[in-house]
Symmetry: C2
């Protein structure tokens, strides 16, 4: 079943990591976070999607967002390289953007737990994440946005999420 507004966000599985394959993500239980799901690191739509969060970083923080988690069903080495590449491309420095996290859901366990996985084997070889954005406040899901098809870039873009905050 797909995650819904009002659901409690479960703890991240041990396989959802940030920076290194053994560094499990710990979602804060207080404060406001955004979780952005993307189908594939280095794919053209995702490489247009994620920079909207890099560019809107200051505005999101001003609107009360504490942390931004970009999640893809890729391994941690790919997610690290991609995060660094995208921030550099947009004049940023990932080490200074301490509240944006490039997370590897290497086996898809996390997105499956949200009901937000899909079969991308024809293009990408395995199960991937739908394109989504969740806003979570104090551990409770407050907003769920899922694109109708993975390449679409409409309601999950940072500007659209910003409007709702």
């Amino acid at each position: 079943m797909t995650v819904r507004v009002g659901d409690k966000l479960s703890s991240a599985p041990a396989s959802l990591t940030e920076t290194a394959p053994d560094k499990t993500v710990q979602f804060p239980t207080e404060g406001k976070i955004i979780i952005v799901g993307v189908p594939g690191a280095y794919t053209p739509p995702c490489s247009d999607h994620v920079p909207t969060y890099i560019l809107a970083y200051d505005d999101l923080l001003k609107k009360g967002i504490d942390e931004i988690y970009v999640v893809g069903v890729n391994d941690q080495f790919v997610m690290n390289a991609w995060g660094k590449h995208l921030t550099q491309q947009h004049g940023g420095d990932l080490e200074k953007l301490t509240h944006i996290h490039f997370c590897a859901d290497r086996s898809g366990e996390f997105v499956k737990s949200l009901g937000l996985d899909f079969d991308a084997s024809g293009l990408l070889g395995n199960t991937r994440s739908k394109r989504f954005a969740l806003v979570v406040k104090d551990g409770i899901v407050e907003d769920v946005r899922v694109e109708n098809s993975p390449p679409e870039l409409t309601l999950t873009m940072a500007d659209e999420v910003l409007k709702s905050l």
Copy 2:
């Protein structure tokens, strides 16, 4: 069963691609090629391994190698980005290295057909390619080199393969 010297190299499966997810690799049936299998794009050992082939490119061609195929169980978008990144990092230009190919075995179908896959789910989330180098002449496997463990960089390095040519 693992591929052996004297085996005929099968045609590449449709899911083994180069440059785009719908561009299936066509191995030449004449001439001499090297196929290099790597566990993961952007992992530190693979990012040390593959550049040895970029740096030895001219020497390999002088020794009669016609084409070099670098294969990873990653999708084509990741393999393209990684290939470009590695060649730039070593002062090269992938568009000029027309005989080196960064191939996506997105579902692992090709390396499974060679018996050269392994379970990397704990670190990378799925089945990956062992680290190997095959030399194939006129469609027949002439040399099979497989590292004892995936992070090892010994007998599959370009210089070691060069010595055997």
